[in-house]
Amino acid sequence: MRYPYYPGCSVGGTAKAYEESLLAVLERFDLGLDELDDWNCCGASAAPSIDEDRAIALSARNLALAEERAEDSAPVDLLTPCAGCYRALLAAQRSLAEQPAVARRIDGALQAVGLRYERRVHVRHVLDVLANEVGTEAISAAVTRPLDGLKVACYYGCLLVRPNATFDDERNPTSMDRLMEAVGAEPLDWPLKTRCCGGSCYGADPFSGTTPQGALSLSYALLREASRRGADAVVTACPLCQFNLEAFQGEMTRTFGTPIDLTVGYVTQFVGLALGLPERRLGIHRMLRWRLPEREPVAAEGGVHARA
């Protein structure tokens, strides 16, 4: 099966490894991605601050493109790896469903350029698809190199489950924790799962003069707490969160005086490692820091379960 796929702009830049590892993991389960032809930027959290209708129109074009190649009247699962894009697409859908006047304007504008959105798209985040479509059981069964109790802090960030939680609890989501357990890691109990990393604050700008160290202190609080609880790594499912938590650790150490040095990766990379996929295919070489405790050598036979 192949999912229509909306990558979002970050995946072409800082989050390249996210897409690489996603492709590698899905391939293991005979799943593929069909990138929407000529998709456009969703406008992130910025667009509604300029003009709401235009923000909805940006996502509506993508929703229409997702339906274009699907069979008539069949529902379409549109996959996106980015929490920001995910929120934008959901927000557009919600406005179109709940505000008839907005829907009329947007539908009219789509029609004017020969597009049509029939409300057949079901927007799915990568985490949702891994946990609920591929499923933790299938993933667990495919593990060849379990993560051996690697202590991970599962970080969901803000926009994955807020404001329109669709596949997990908005205060205490668990799908990533279950996924990490399925591949043999040990998800830590920590209270900052959905606390904002500051990434959307000013586009991952911890040096901003807006609020001295505002964004930096948010990511610092997350990483310090993860370290304090003994995390070997922080697992993310959003390009902005990952970048924001990984790229400014040196600055955090200088600013706050507590050394911060934590591996921050994408959920797909950790799943991929447990599936025995080569690091290169998971984009590990693109990470700014990557240090995990040594694992057992590769199991002689495939299909070893993560847990007995």
């Binding site: 072409g12 709401e52 789509l110 597009l115 807006t210 948010l218 693109r286």
Partner: protein, 222 residues
Amino acid sequence: MRRNGSRGKVKSQTEFEARLDPGFAAEIAAEVPDGDRLLGCLQCGTCSGACPLSMYMDLTPRRVIELTRAGARDEVLGSSTIWVCASCYACTVQCPKQIPITELMHAFRRRAFEAGAYPRRFTNPVMTRELVAMAEERGRSTESWIAMKAYLRTDPLQLLKHAVVGLRLMLRGRMSFKRESIRDRRQLAELLRALEAAPAAPGPAPSEPTAREPVPAREGAR
């Protein structure tokens, strides 16, 4: 104020009240789905407590809501709060009155942009504009360009500070200065243009004045 004694106090109070715009709350509320819930705010402060950035704001979210109800348009639109907000929706999901606070923040930003009342050296409003302009014009946003443009406009020194991170990202193939674009930019431009031409009024009366019309900004605040 105290130096002037109670007379000065009364004077400044009167001046403040004269500046209030009693229609401000209704105007903002009408712009956001379920926005009128702000009128039922309990002032419990849950939003300010939930907000991870409230300590960096000049007005907490709770105070912004109350000042909105009071009609203090200038105070609200001129606050750092609406730009410090990271749109993380922590307040929105916690609010016991289900006030769509984050969406209200977006509405305040739109008003502040319209009124030209945003702080020029804040990175956030500048970056917001750059990102949206790029998304609408080219159909794609290129991270490196947004950051560069925003810093050049606000604080070019930031570029130097970011150079090391940028270089490390480039070495790993995670950052490029190639400006991305969609093929059919014309379609996107036409879509956005068609939106402006589309009837904006809810209901069957298309001639009704609409929420999209620019609201008389400062004069109304008198």
